[in-house]
Amino acid sequence: MNPITPIINGMKITLKHMFMKPVTLQYPDERPKVAERFRGLHALKVSHSKAKCVACYLCPTVCPAKCITVEAGEDANHDKYATVYEIDMLRCIFCGYCVEACPVDALKMTGEFELANYSRQDFIYSKERLLEKQ
């Protein structure tokens, strides 16, 4: 074979790709389009300006990674609510069982996937951080 042929073939492919649409994303300048059923960061749904969660403990019970901590309390109307609701994102495997188990549809998983952080403590999402942004 002519020793120059492979080089020309290679250059052809390179030239062809110069005019094709790129497959990579220029993250973070470009953002991916997250699928509707993507399982990202959890959010506690809000209704009547408070969390819908009634602290039934089914999500920590079903969680295979044991990453959810709930503590229940009684509010002024004697209703049960979560005084503590924490998810340890370092342990979470994003299986979505918690959402499935929830009897009052208080939990969902958002498209939020940028969960990097600087310290381990920052990966423990407290109730305030998990509340759905209105």
């Binding site: 009634v54 039934c56 403990y57 920590p60 019970t61 009897p103």
Partner: protein
């Protein structure tokens, strides 16, 4: 026995069984909501429907139908399953279905059955109930919207607790469980109703929303309050005791508990618990290390003879026996005691003389097997409520006759046909001796009695106790005493029960001898349903006696130790868990002793009043954090294992004593099990026991009785003084010792000291309920809240002794009866 067929299985069951019980005995499960082992059949829920071939395929309730010979029963035909589903649908029709927020979820019979029978939809529609929920009660929350009307709460309150706080009110569709006039719940707060409730209608408020049932580990233990020795199941999560869980198969009492056992557990995880050793430096208790603290203590103990020790009978047998060994062998002192020195005298002096054994001749199981019960002081119910339940059941279910000899009326007096002889305070021994005299005079004496040691002297000494003379002295009618005597003597089986404790100074050796004399005289001991049962106050009071942890062979007793401290002959005092400043009589005497003693060592859970005056305070473990054995009042030895891990900073008393023994140059056993081997080898009745054999149900340590009559001596009576009232001390139903002050449950319902007086005394002194009144005696005066009650006779007032905030020992110096004046 009856033979029958259940689901094609041939079974043989007792004649008295119902179909439900027969099936259960043979491992066939019939679903039910309204049944409890202890309660009578009721047939409310209709879940237990079965088909009996002889009854032409009709569906009949298994729980109320007795078995008959040759019955052929089917428990789960398609028709029955259909019917049960229908029952569930109807129950769920009005049920709020708020399982996510209901604390019963996971342990709920209705939820479990709904799941089992897959009742996913409901063919019917109806409005839910809108009953008001009672959130105000500090211990029992009532949500009647969830109720399935099984009636278990009302029945347990009536049949066992005999209080009758709850009942069905209204009729038809409106029917619900409520109190009289639909009022607030104000009862004994034993929580039995919560325990038996199959749904979330009755819930323990202190446990509200604390944890899910399935997230807790269930740890079996033995209650750490009174001497009954009830078994507990503690609900533990994250190393915290969160609640007590009902188990109808547990213990002689079948899971039945009193307010202290059920709601008084919070002291285990209290924030007030001591976590570090404290050493007094420049007059202030400062945190220290174990090494430093124990080195100081060991240094002081080396002195030997000037050392004395007091221990609480809440320690385990292993700890008490190791403490005793340390004091005798490594320290070299005989001066040690427990329970103020007199609270155990009924056993150590009384029964020791009468029965030749330092234990009761009967056990708690004898109560229901007896024919006649004589209870000395109605307080037996307050000091040992679960024993009281046994009395209730004996009287109400077994037709046992009950007579009470007391200085006041009480709960037990209200039982059907109970006869209460109310005598003047402090004269029970005289009445008992008068009864003995009547028995001899009327020739009701058992044939065996005359040959028993001391009979002649006994008979002679009784001449001073003629019924007429005593009756006039103690304020009862002579004929009543005579009637009681003949009833006691005539009963085939008779049992005498009396409580003891630090507040019952009158319940001493004399009383124990007097009741034992009666039992020996009529031959009512050493047989089933007969004998004498001394209810010792604390969970291991009997164990402390069995371990020999009391003044013997010339050692000083508790009160002598305190006097010796004040006199300077005892220089180092080691108090393991006692709080004499609150619970011993005569506060001034105790205070003087603790101030005078050169060096005071206290091992405690909390910084009590006594611990605050100490030179070294050692933080120790509660019963839920250690292993060992407790001996109940009827000598049932029970093993406890740690329910939770202890804080690494604290030690058990056992570890402290072992450490001190090695610092003092001795050889200490490393584990309580090893110490128990020693106990088993040298304690009468404990032979052959070990931690392993005791693990399941515990075992009775048999009591060997050698009867002897103890001659009664003339007794000083307290003369009534005009314008003064007779104060008797005792236990409140909600408390036990001073420990229950740290259990939140008891403090919700009985938070402070009080003085209980009769209506006539209240009106004579113009005192109304809840008035603060100044109570003065010869030794001091104090403010107490007035409680006007129907049960007190005129001229007698009662005050409980448990409270640090109202220490009754400021006015009570240890006499069974103290004369006091009340000023508003």
């Amino acid at each position: 026995m009856v033979n029958l067929t259940i689901d094609d299985k041939q079974v043989t069951v007792p004649r008295t069984a119902t179909i439900y019980e027969a099936a259960k005995l043979n491992g066939i499960n019939i679903p039910i909501l309204c049944h409890d082992k202890k309660l009578k059949p009721f047939g409310a829920c209709r879940m237990c429907l079965v088909e009996v071939e002889q009854m032409k395929g009709r569906q009949i309730p298994a729980c109320t139908t007795p078995v008959t010979e040759g019955m052929i029963i089917r428990t789960s035909t398609p028709d029955i399953i259909k019917a049960r589903k229908m029952v569930l649908e109807l129950l769920l029709l009005n049920h709020p279905l708020d399982c996510p927020v209901c604390d019963k979820s996971g342990d709920c019979d209705l939820q479990n059955l709904t799941y089992e029978y897959q009742v996913n939809s409901n063919r019917f529609t109806d409005e839910k109930f809108h009953h008001e929920i009672d959130y105000n009660n500090p211990l029992i929350e009532r949500d009647m919207n969830r109720c399935v009307l099984c009636g278990k709460c009302a029945r347990v309150c009536d049949e066992i607790v005999s209080y009758g706080a709850l009942t069905f009110i209204d009729r038809g569709i409106e029917t619900k469980i409520g109190c009289e006039f639909d009022d607030a719940l104000n009862c004994e707060f034993c929580g039995s109703c919560i325990a038996v409730c199959p749904v979330g209608s009755l819930l323990a408020r202190p446990f509200k929303h604390k944890a899910r049932w399935w997230a807790m580990t269930k740890q079996k233990s033995v209650c750490g309050y009174c001497g009954t020795g009830c078994n507990l199941t503690l609900g533990v999560k994250d190393n915290k005791v969160l609640t007590t869980i009902y188990d109808e198969d547990q213990g002689f009492h079948k899971g039945q508990l009193c307010v202290r056992g059920r709601f008084g557990y919070q002291f285990i995880n209290s924030d007030k618990r001591l976590t570090k050793p404290l050493v007094k430096k420049n007059g202030v208790l400062t945190e220290s290390t174990w090494d430093e603290a124990l080195e100081i203590v060991a240094g002081r103990l080396k002195v030997g003879s000037s050392v004395a020790a007091l221990a609480t009978p809440r320690l385990t047998n292993e700890e008490l026996s190791l403490f005793r060994t340390m004091l005798l062998e490594n320290v070299g002192t005989k001066n040690f005691d427990h329970a103020a020195g007199y609270a155990h005298s009924a056993l150590t002096e009384g029964f020791a003389g009468s029965f030749g054994a330092t234990a009761s001749s009967a056990n708690i199981l004898d109560i229901q097997k007896s024919d006649f019960l004589l209870v000395i002081k109605t307080d037996a119910y307050e000091t040992h409520p679960v024993v009281g339940f046994e009395v209730n059941m004996a009287v109400k279910n077994k037709g046992v006759r009950l007579s009470i000899l007391s200085d006041k009326r009480g709960k037990l007096s209200k039982l059907p046909d109970a006869k209460t002889l109310v005598h003047m305070p402090g004269s029970e021994v005289a009445v008992l001796n008068a009864i003995a005299k009547i028995i001899i005079d009327e020739k009701l004496v058992d044939a065996s009695a005359a040959s028993i040691a001391g009979y002649a002297e006994f008979e002679k000494a009784l001449s001073a106790f003629s019924a007429e003379a005593i009756a006039a002295q103690v304020g009862i009618v002579a004929s009543d005493i005579k009637k009681l005597a003949s009833e006691y003597a005539a009963a085939e089986k008779a049992l005498i029960i009396f409580p003891t404790g630090q507040a019952y100074t009158g319940h001493n050796a004399d009383l124990a001898n007097a009741v034992a004399n009666l039992a020996i005289l009529t031959g009512k001991y050493g047989k089933e349903g007969c004998g004498v049962l001394c209810l010792s106050e604390k969970n291991n009071s009997q164990g402390a006696v069995d371990m020999g942890f009391y003044a013997q062979d010339g050692g000083l007793n508790s009160l002598q130790i305190l006097d010796a401290c004040a006199a300077g002959t005892v220089k180092t005092l080691f108090i393991a868990g006692e709080n004499p400043l609150v619970s011993y009589p005569d506060r001034n005497r105790v205070k003087a002793a603790l101030d005078a003693v050169e060096f005071l060592i206290v091992s405690e859970l909390f910084l009590t009043e006594t611990a605050a005056t100490a030179d070294v305070v050692l933080p120790v473990c509660s019963y839920a954090e250690k292993d060992g054995t407790f001996t109940s009042t009827d000598r049932r030895v029970q093993y406890i294992k740690p329910a939770i891990r202890k804080n690494v900073q604290i030690k058990t008393d056992f570890e402290i004593f072992s450490d001190l023994i090695s610092r003092l140059g001795g050889q200490a056993p490393l584990r309580p099990a090893a110490q128990f081997e020693k106990i088993a080898s040298n304690t009468p009745g404990y032979f052959g026991m070990s931690h392993i054999t005791l693990q399941k149900d515990g075992a009775f340590a048999p009591v060997k009785i050698t009867p002897a009559f103890v001659t009664p001596h003339a007794l000083a009576t307290v003369a009534p003084e005009t314008g003064k009232l007779a104060l008797v001390t005792g236990s409140a139903l909600y408390h036990s010792g001073s420990l229950s002050q740290y259990g939140e449950g008891p403090m919700h319902v009985c938070p402070e000291g009080y003085i209980e007086l009769s209506r006539s005394d209240a009106s004579a002194n113009k005192i109304a309920e809840n008035d603060m009144i100044t109570v003065s005696s010869a030794t001091g005066s104090m403010q107490l809240k007035a409680k006007v009650s129907l049960r007190m006779p005129a001229g007698v007032v009662f005050a409980p002794y448990h409270f640090s905030t109202a220490p009754i020992n400021t006015i009570w110096s240890g006499a069974p009866v103290t004369m006091v004046t009340l000023v508003k």
